[in-house]
Symmetry: C2
Subunit: 130 residues, 2 copies
């Protein structure tokens, strides 16, 4: 097994994800990281995301047909996708009560769940104000 080294590229990408208020798209990550690493190639971004995912430091979130990435270890949470600005936020309140093992109508045994809410984020709701 190869040993994973610490590099400037990996540090920048994982820091970006740690500090983001919600999951980020690959293109976003590439663009933001380029502010610090102008020559950063997209292949490195993909390879780093794959590595961090294997290390369980981040994980993919498939939303609106896009693959977004977010840091792990932020506890049980869901997402809010703003229909105005397109940004995705992390919600720390869960709207469902479905402990693992719950038997759902129809005989489906629930192990996990995902909830995504759509609507207007606080900023857009204010800007478009009544």
């Amino acid at each position: 097994m190869t040993v994973s080294r610490s590099t400037r590229q990996r540090d920048v990408i994982s820091r970006l994800l740690e500090e983001a208020p919600g999951p980020l798209a690959v293109g976003d990550i590439h663009e933001r990281a380029r502010a610090e690493l102008p020559r950063l190639g997209i292949a490195t971004v993909y390879r780093t995301l794959k590595l961090l995912t294997e290390q369980r430091r981040i994980h993919p979130v498939l939303l609106d047909g896009e693959t977004l990435y977010e840091a792990t270890g932020k506890g049980h949470h869901h997402h809010f996708s703003c229909t105005r600005c397109g940004k995705v936020f992390t919600l720390h309140t869960c709207p469902v009560a479905l402990p693992s093992g719950t038997v759902y109508p129809g005989g489906f045994i629930v192990e996990a769940h995902e909830v995504t809410l759509y609507g207007q984020c606080p900023t857009c709701a204010e800007g478009q104000g009544v």
Copy 2:
């Protein structure tokens, strides 16, 4: 505006989606439709799905990184993705109470929501039975 004609390809594809118990992947649709239309090209499948989507007769469901399609007009519902067999089912019971307009903690105005449950479908739960 061009007039949309009725063709064998379109009939077969929309019938498949109407009769399915859950959303289908593009590859699945192509494969199943080929049983009746051996020369059916993948481009026609994509064009038909796009057309039916514009007509609001079907709509895409983005699940597990795949784009699935399902017929519309089946009321408010959610999906259950079986972690054993991979099939996706439609659930007619909704586990959340979030009417449009609800203000979620943090100031997010909810317009819609999507819920996906993961676990074992009745068939797999039985097969693997205790």
